[in-house]
Symmetry: C2
DNA sequence: ACGTGCATGTAAAGCGTTACATGATTAC
DNA sequence: GTAATCATGTAACGCTTTACATGCACGT
């Protein structure tokens, strides 16, 4: 699929960058909500892209000695990136999610443990959602289509809707675990042991 | 992380199964919304789990000759699975999504192409959502906590909320692309070329 | 007889994480 | 001086997909 390749091309197309810059985008920025890679994957990919003539770099000096390679996209790079960008793809059937997998097996654990796991996720997801909602405040009005901010805004909205749905699901699940386990035979036994 | 290992343990714990059965769960069932694997990964994993004493199998004959290995979970397998199930994990920071990555770079493509890509995804996601909503109709009432159906129901609800949020995001994005590009300079040039 | 589904495996290549490795710059 | 950040790489290992490979069972 070579997705990382195109993610890097796109980032460098937005703005010339070093490998370190790219790693930071994947770690801290909006982008990290739907793609990421470590520097150990990025540096070899930058090299490959340069060898293929899709990127080129200039060496800059920061301070006295330290060199950094600032990559720019080439005309061929732009062309290949645009071709990828316009490809209409079938949707990914599976978004792997370990927590959902655990919940699939929820009946194998005592309902108190299920509730604890759900609450822990809920705290984390809510924190994430709050952070995203704060980021949204930077946008007082809709950015112009042709600016990079427009893409930033679209995917930020996507992340917010996604996290909100996750939070809704966790809260609903917590309610259902409470409701369903109250009446269950298994739980009556558990309660009998506790009281 | 060895997630596949535990997914398989859990499935076999729910119900004795062959490798083929497991592959089918990952391909067609609710489970496929948040985890999957191909038979080429499943068969070696089943072998490893058997060698480690977490699974065991009996050979059954279907028809005259064809053998199939029906796996059951062992007591040690149950113990290890439960230990995994109760582990409280930090949330995955990134759910990789190629389509969102494309939209991050939306300003690099003409807005007509962006709209076309969004519409294509929308059709696919709506179809998926409809399928999930249909599946939900099977549940006339909340399954009992201790039944496998309870987990099925929880993750089905999760999938529905997730897909609904995706659909909402796509529709909102389509509106924003229309709105923002109407007034943009770039788009006026595009229109000038068309008319 | 033929096609679809059942059933099980291996091999190669690609993708991704963790760990190994090194050194400069900057702010306190 | 020292800690955090900037900066670039490689190696080993694990996970995942695609392709290669084989054969039986069942319905029409």
């Amino acid at each position: 699929m070579r997705t990382l390749r195109y993610a890097i091309l796109g980032l460098v197309d937005r703005k010339p960058a070093t490998g370190y810059d790219i790693a930071r985008e994947f770690k801290e920025k909006e982008l990290s909500n739907f793609w990421s890679a470590r520097h150990s994957q990025i540096y070899p990919e930058l090299r490959k892209l340069t060898e293929e003539g899709l990127l080129e770099y200039e060496v800059e000096i920061s301070g006295e000695i330290q060199e950094k390679k600032v990559y720019r996209i080439t005309r061929r790079g732009k062309r290949e990136f645009l071709a990828w960008l316009l490809r209409d793809e079938v949707m990914q059937p599976t978004f792997k999610d370990r927590f959902r997998l655990r919940m699939y097996f929820v009946s194998r654990m005592p309902s108190a443990d299920a509730a604890a796991l759900l609450k822990s996720q809920l705290v984390q997801r809510k924190r994430k959602l709050d952070f995203l909602l704060e980021s949204q405040e930077k946008y007082q009005e809709l950015p112009e289509y042709s600016s990079d901010q427009f893409g930033d805004y679209l995917v930020l909205r996507g992340a917010i809707l996604r996290e909100q749905a996750y939070v809704d699901w966790l809260e609903e699940s917590l309610r259902l675990v409470g409701k369903s386990s109250q009446s269950s035979v298994m739980e009556q036994k558990e309660n009998a042991l506790v009281h």
